[in-house]
């Protein structure tokens, strides 16, 4: 008899830290999944998290939700895998979640085998790869050189299915992975068991945001069932429905190309995929195509310090000033810059954004109109912490008292805080948009296994 390779992947929610319907999760567990897979992050919240190697979500939230998933995993007696642990998937964030996992295991008295897959890249490896022409740019092309690589506080490579499969092969109950592609954690087991290549990657993309591909996105939990020809999508919340529209439209989501998706080892092409309603809440997808590549590449992400910032907020309610706010802002910028350049060492920029006019979109907003009050968000960015703080203090009296003309009494505007300037510390920026060529998928990743409690 032929082995049954049908693989059910239960996805509790779009990311650990987001809400989900507990009844839907339990419904999913009762359906005997082969694995539970959840994403732990993305770059969408900005470069700070990769720059610092920290999580966007509170430790308390993560611990509470991860505890529920660990209990659900024990009940189902299947592996639980998380990718891009701790928002950014850098080693520090992986260690953070591993520590939480050990605490929970002790609290709930679980014996688990824990596999940890690390994705952080030593600077030396990236420099060597650059010298050996093993690093290739993606569009839009960013300059890369040794200085830029050395400036990164964290560099991660995005693991694909091969590395997750290695982690699962250890017999782990729980896999905590550093940076992975969103799809890899879902596609890994179906592919290892021999499911359809195109179907596995396509189903993984549909499932990566949990129930976002259904009529009830906040319900979170979704089951994707993979087989030899394609996959079937079924939301686990009773009132949620997957329709050919909700499923196919998910290919648009946060994806620049809705028909192709590039992954380590090839790309998915859904041009010929067909979406069929099995009933009013399940959708069957076939015809997805996987195109293997000749070389194996992993995408890199890196973040470095872009400077040090101080921000302040000033509120202006006086009509003559709100009516002439752009003149006033230009005056303040010029006056403050002139004084700061005379008095302070170091490079800085000063930007005043007019909240209530066009702070969201800047000069692109051509129809913006002023209201009864405006907020002035002043941003000082400098090469050093000291310069940022000095310039912010020089700016303070201008924001409080700068008059529109010399022939008027000195105005005073509303400061909501004392001190009014808030030092934000260092800010980070993404500085890599490249892939790295690997001979062996594991050569840039580090896998360990431990029994908890030790």
């Amino acid at each position: 008899m032929k082995k049954n390779i049908t693989t059910k992947v239960l996805i509790p929610s779009g990311a650990l830290g987001l809400s989900y319907d507990r009844a839907a999760l339990h419904a999913g567990i009762s359906r005997n999944p082969n694995i539970i897979a959840i994403d732990g992050g993305s770059t969408d919240s900005g470069p700070h998290y990769l720059g610092t190697g920290t999580s966007k979500y509170s430790r308390s939230t993560i611990k509470a939700q991860w505890r529920e998933l660990m209990l659900a995993r024990a009940e189902a007696n299947v592996p639980l895998v998380i990718g891009t642990a701790g928002t950014c998937g850098a080693d520090d964030a992986v260690d953070w979640l591993a520590e939480i996992t050990r605490e929970i295991a002790q609290d709930v008295d679980q014996d688990i085998r824990l596999a940890i897959l690390k994705s952080s890249q030593p600077v030396s490896r990236i420099k060597t790869a650059l010298e050996n022409d093993q690093i290739k740019p993606l569009e839009p092309v960013l300059d890369i050189n040794e200085t830029c690589i050395e400036a990164c506080t964290n560099i991660v490579a995005l693991a694909g299915v091969e590395q997750i499969q290695k982690a699962l092969e250890t017999g782990a109950d729980i896999v905590i992975a550093g940076r992975t592609t969103d799809t890899a954690i879902i596609a890994a087991l179906p592919l290892a068991r021999g499911c359809h290549f195109g179907g596995a990657w396509h189903g993984a993309k549909i499932g990566e945001c949990g129930a976002l591909a259904t009529t009830k996105p906040n319900s979170g939990t979704i089951m994707i069932t993979f087989d030899t020809h394609g996959f079937t999508v079924e939301p686990m919340a009773e009132t949620a429905r997957a329709t050919p529209y909700t499923v196919s439209a998910h290919m648009l989501y946060e994806n620049s190309n809705p028909l192709q998706l590039y992954e380590p080892g090839g790309h998915l092409d859904v041009t010929r995929a067909t979406y069929t309603a099995l009933d009013d809440r399940r959708v069957r997808v076939t015809g997805s195509n996987w195109v293997p590549s000749d070389i194996y590449t992993v995408k890199l992400e890196g973040a470095r310090i872009g400077g040090y910032q101080s921000v302040s907020l000033t509120l202006i309610r006086e009509k003559r000033y709100t009516n002439n706010i752009q003149t006033w802002v230009a005056d303040v910028e010029t006056a403050c810059k002139t004084e700061a350049q005379e008095e302070v060492d170091g490079n800085f920029t000063l930007e005043l954004r007019i909240i209530g006019l066009n702070a969201t979109l800047g000069h692109l907003d051509k129809t913006a109109k002023i209201g009864t009050e405006v907020g002035i968000l002043a941003i000082v960015t400098a090469d050093t912490e000291g310069t940022a703080q000095e310039v912010a203090k020089i700016l303070n009296p201008y924001l409080l008292h700068h008059p529109l003309s010399e022939q008027e009494e000195m105005p005073t505007f509303a400061f909501p805080f004392s001190p009014n300037e808030m030092f934000r510390g260092e800010f980070y920026e993404f500085c890599l948009n490249h892939v790295m060529i690997l001979k062996d998928p594991m050569e840039a990743f580090y896998l360990t296994v431990e029994d908890v409690p030790q």
């Binding site: 770059t43 969408d44 470069p47 809705p258 930007e351 979109l361 960015t381």
Partner: protein
């Protein structure tokens, strides 16, 4: 004058990674899809977002009644002059784009 928001069902802009913005225009009917697909040009979108039109990638998806535009972010996510970490506000500018009437005039 008709603007996109008057006839589209939903307009969404999101990051597609730190270096790209993607804009999805969802239409509820074949008619509104056809009208937007014909009227809204790459030049118009490029002008609204202040980028060269050659940078625009466009996908007309009649099966979904969706028109999608992807472009390199005018300012990279999270850099000094970025105003919108998640890129969601660009959709508001596109929503205000002028759409020709059925006769093809404004």
């Amino acid at each position: 004058m008709t603007i996109l928001a008057d006839i589209a069902q939903k307009i969404r802009s999101k990051n597609a990674g730190p270096f790209w913005i993607t804009i999805d225009i969802f239409c509820s009917t074949k008619e509104s899809y056809a009208r937007i697909e014909q009227s809204l040009s790459n030049e118009q979108v490029a002008h609204i977002l202040g980028i060269p039109k050659e940078q625009i990638q466009r996908y007309d998806l009649p099966d979904l009644n969706v028109i999608k535009f992807s472009l390199p972010r005018p300012i990279v996510q999270g850099t000094r002059y970025d105003r919108d970490m998640h890129g969601a506000s660009f959709a508001n500018l596109i929503a205000e784009a002028e759409i020709l009437d059925e006769a093809g005039t404004s």
